[in-house]
Subunit: 148 residues, 2 copies
């Protein structure tokens, strides 16, 4: 199955997710790890779409999400840079684009190693906090700990 | 906002719904009314996408679905024929296409007035029963009543 550029934009407008996980990680100097992730989740009946996305981006993995649901997921940094580049050239049309632009800022900050300094990490948490992930409270606590 | 054909296909692959409602209706000769409907539901923050779809298809209405959710919906028969024609020329890539093809068969049967005869109505219920609507049991009961 060949995917067209505009089809991919439309499908990701519907089904894609730009997520920035922030996890405690004692081995990191700042005490936390930043894990941005682009993913598309589908019922297993549409697993062939996930593999088609993997071929399209030439990146990522397809794996079980939970139960009957599978995900196409990109975590590797150079692959995320490709994703960021793609959706910058071909913008999403829904409000998901607001989250995408924040995601892109975080991925670019990480390319510069900003997440490894306390100042840069705080900036990242602040951006992630404003994303539509339902984790505002948890991230605000991390942010307050760092700034308090 | 201008929508591209492939974007619309991709977005509907993710967010579209082809639904065939079958409701009791004592005034109809067969005792039931068949109401096929194409819809896309979004959070109100993306209501402009729904209006863009309305302009794209030159059909349908945008109205509240429930709470913060709005829908773009097409019910008018000549508009549904346009939708059927569009997705036949530009096929969906997910398994939603299986439901679409059943939906298209029902809309075409209705164009021929088949839903107004008991035989045709039974055919329609049988197709609708096999669609992925979560209404299998209710429709099976209607079907059994008609054939029993």
């Amino acid at each position: 199955m060949e995917l067209d550029i505009d089809w991919v934009v439309g499908f990701v407008d519907g089904e894609g997710c730009f997520y920035v996980g922030i996890y405690e990680h004692p081995e990191m100097k700042v005490g936390y790890r930043v894990l941005p992730e682009f993913r598309v989740v589908q019922h297993k009946r549409d697993i062939q779409i996930l593999y088609a996305l993997k071929r399209f981006f030439r990146c990522g993995v397809v794996r079980q999400n939970h139960d009957d649901r599978y995900e196409f997921r990109i975590r590797k940094h150079e692959c995320l840079m490709k994703v960021v580049d793609f959706f910058q050239r071909h913008p999403l049309k829904t409000k998901k684009n607001v989250d995408f632009r924040k995601f892109a800022r975080i991925v670019r900050k990480m390319a510069e190693g900003r997440h490894l300094t306390e100042e840069g990490f705080k900036e990242i948490v602040k951006i992630a906090m404003s994303m539509n992930s339902g984790e505002h409270e948890r991230l605000k606590e991390i942010y307050d700990t760092l700034t308090g």
